[in-house]
Symmetry: C2
Subunit: 183 residues, 2 copies
DNA sequence: TCTTCCTATGCAACTCGTTGCATATACAAG
DNA sequence: CTTGTATATGCAACGAGTTGCATAGGAAGA
């Protein structure tokens, strides 16, 4: 399982509270790893117990206090160990593909609206990624200093962009196929 | 959850035993939905209990008897209901992306071998998909009769092919980035 | 004959992920 | 002054997925 490792990477990039982590998982990290706040809090507890991360109570004004987590030496070592372990390429789970093959035993035309919905969702994600790329990497306000961390973040983001573009092209293909199958 | 629906689709395409389903999940269906035989047997039990599928004991020669499952009317209705429900676009989980961003806090060069391994794996999958496409859809021995089911299966397979091609291009991009970051 | 592999089915324990709910502070809008 | 929204943390129950193990018949080869 890699949630704990995703949290370690995120905390190394910038220390933060469980709440802040949950928001990062809705944004940048969520591009390739999803997690809810309940999951994050639970894992943070365990990681703290294992000495992977340190906590610091931070009083705040105008909002509740927070617990700011940062990576301890043990956690850094654990991440390093995991980074050097080989991992298997991810297993895929595409509900939509199941539906498309299932449509052969139902009304294929009824699936068109659903596929169009997914198309819209992926178009939105692509726009969001491209805006982030412009803001953080390729735009005029993006930092110009060479930085391995930023380079790697950009490479991951390019992966997200490539994925969304591929999905949009494929969904167009699926839509054309569904229209062709209409009476 | 869609495992039960994936099983229904597979059984509609062709009835079979739990063992046969497990093998299909290693092959064609596994392109977009993975499941182990333990999981499949467990779900088949529940589906049988719910009246979604029928069982037939089939004695075999030279090998143990098997239970052949086929979709019952209730199961067909359940699938139809699910097909008409909207589903959310899948949530992604890319261990490799976590590793790439984590490499900023470790040795980026150490990741090159791992990325190359993944590249090889995806190249193998692509070759496998392309061979299947040639055999079942575009080759000279493929059936020529128009069939909605086959059309949709082909569309899903084209999605797998597009995915693997996208991954290969992105992994090339990542490799170039990692080489650029070397001392 | 012994081992290994393939077919075929299944249990039990455990971990992980999801869903629903609960609590508390603070600010802004009505 | 109540309602809604955002911050901030958390529990409990359930459902899904993974891992390890167990059983059993038959075929193929050393």
């Amino acid at each position: 399982m890699a949630l704990e490792h995703a949290i370690l990477v995120s905390l190394l990039e910038k220390p933060g509270s469980g709440y802040e982590l949950a928001r990062r998982f809705e944004r940048s990290i969520g591009y390739f790893w999803t997690a809810t706040h309940q999951q994050i809090y639970r894992v943070l507890k365990r990681m703290e117990g294992d000495g992977w991360i340190d906590v610091r109570e931070v009083p705040q004004q105008g909002r509740p206090d927070k617990k700011e987590y940062s990576v301890a030496a043990v956690g850094r070592a654990a991440l390093s160990g995991w980074l050097h372990e080989p991992i298997e390429p991810e297993s895929v789970r595409h509900d939509l593909a199941v539906k498309i093959r299932g449509a052969a035993f139902d009304d294929p035309a009824a699936l068109i609206r659903e596929v169009e919905r997914h198309h819209q969702e992926h178009a939105d994600r692509l726009a969001h990624y491209l805006a982030g790329e412009l803001r953080d990497f390729t735009g005029p306000d993006a930092p110009r200093t060479p930085d391995a961390g930023r380079e790697l973040q950009h490479a991951v983001l390019r992966g997200g962009i490539a994925y969304e573009r591929m999905m949009l092209a494929w969904l167009d293909d699926v839509l054309a196929t569904l229209h062709r199958l209409r009476p």
